[in-house]
């Protein structure tokens, strides 16, 4: 696909489409554009159906600065030839972006690199943490298609890669959400289990579910291995994921000969989850434990 065609190419295409000779179509086009410019010289608008309107727009005299000398100059009043595409042409050309619609923005939402049209609004454009994620996603959508379209649009305007800080913002928001949930669950059962080490050693597997997944920061929890229990099962009960068995093994290495077979009655120390970064909701933490565990098997 050539990106630039001239009058001659256009004449060829026209000749093919309408079954007239090449010379005839070229003559037609030449006279068409001649007539348009002539009509415009008479200060008249030219309207072509489904294409657009050519119009002379008066420009008022204004002051400017000479680019070379830096002197002030006055640009005299003049006319500018403008073309206003018809709706049909507008829609046709904008087809790749036609699914976009204007979005109403809430107060305090702003995007880097997006021009604000009214100056006074500039002060409110600081990026805030509390941005609704929905809006951000919509914006990212815009950007994705933007990049997609840039393959087609040869002269694209410069856009800073705003989506990087936005993705970062989403990550931070998710991280703080996890942290918040973690903390909430953390403080609650600590008051219920007043003497966890004693209680747990007596009824190691009858503790409530919420308690089992908790880490107990002050004193280390102990578990007596019962029949049919494996390190993996204990890890699942204590940490919410069986991959964390390796940390129990590491903590009790001196008592365990073979991590696959743990003798009944062995008293195991359950490590504090903060000691090994144990977090069942964090896939990275799980993956790390898995890799570590595979080393011992």
């Amino acid at each position: 696909m050539e990106n630039r065609i001239t009058l001659a190419n256009l004449a060829d295409l026209l000749a093919k489409r309408t079954n007239v000779s090449g010379t005839e179509s070229e003559a037609f086009l030449k006279s068409l554009f001649e007539l348009i410019s002539e009509t415009l010289s008479g200060d008249e608008v030219v309207k072509i159906k489904d294409f657009g309107t050519f119009k002379l727009v008066p420009i008022q005299a204004r002051e400017s600065v000479d680019v070379n000398s830096g002197e002030k100059i006055e640009i005299p009043a003049h006319n500018r030839l403008s073309f206003f595409p018809a709706t049909a042409l507008k829609e046709l050309v904008n087809k790749p972006f036609s699914h976009f619609e204007s979005i109403l923005l809430n107060e305090g939402i702003a995007f880097e690199g997006v021009e604000e049209v009214i100056e006074e609004e500039e002060g409110k454009t600081e990026l805030t943490e509390e941005k609704p994620i929905v809006k951000r996603e919509a914006y990212q959508e815009v950007f994705r298609s933007d990049r997609m379209a840039s393959a087609n649009v040869q002269k694209r305007s410069k856009i800073p890669p705003v989506w990087i800080p936005i993705l970062g913002g989403v990550a931070i928001a998710l991280a703080s959400l996890f942290f918040f949930i973690q903390r909430q669950a953390w403080t609650q059962p600590a008051t219920i289990t007043e003497n966890p080490s004693v209680k747990d050693s007596l009824h190691p597997f009858k503790a409530p579910v919420a308690e089992k997944t908790q880490e107990l920061p002050e004193r280390l929890e102990k578990v007596v291995v019962q029949k049919g229990k494996t390190l993996r099962l204990i890890a699942e009960e204590k940490f919410g994921n069986r991959e964390f068995w390796v940390y129990i093994y590491l903590k009790n290495k001196d008592k365990i000969e073979n991590p696959n077979v743990v003798a009944v009655g062995t008293e195991l120390i359950i490590p504090d989850s903060s000691e090994y970064d144990i977090d069942a909701s964090d896939t990275q933490s799980v993956a790390k434990a898995k890799v570590l565990g595979d080393d011992f098997l």
Binding site: L10, S31, K49, F83, K90, V114, I118, V142
Partner: protein, 97 residues
């Protein structure tokens, strides 16, 4: 000058029937629109260049309600007049003064 006036003027100049000119003009418009939607530049000597440009997204503020809208990017058809015709129209204005 409207579409109809343009056709009749063209018919007179070229010595063709109005319906023929109308067909040719429609075909020309079709061809131009098609090429423009393919992001092709159309260069017409002594007249100008038709091309498409991408307008990037922007935030527009309604001054009355202070509501802010994120206006999506769009592709628009533009026309850049050739320098010859620009000068011609400028001087025409000065002569008219």
């Amino acid at each position: 000058m409207t579409h109809k006036e343009l056709i009749s003027e063209m018919a007179q100049r070229l010595g063709l029937s109005q319906s023929k000119v109308s067909d040719l003009l429609d075909a020309t418009v079709c061809e131009l629109n098609e090429k423009l939607s393919e992001n092709t530049q159309i260069f017409i000597p002594h007249f100008g260049v038709f091309e498409t440009r991408k307008r990037s997204e922007r935030i527009s503020v309604n001054p009355q309600t202070q509501q802010r809208y994120l206006v999506p990017p769009s592709i628009v058809a533009t026309f850049k007049p050739a320098s010859g015709i620009k000068e011609q129209l400028k001087t025409m204005e000065e002569d008219g003064k």
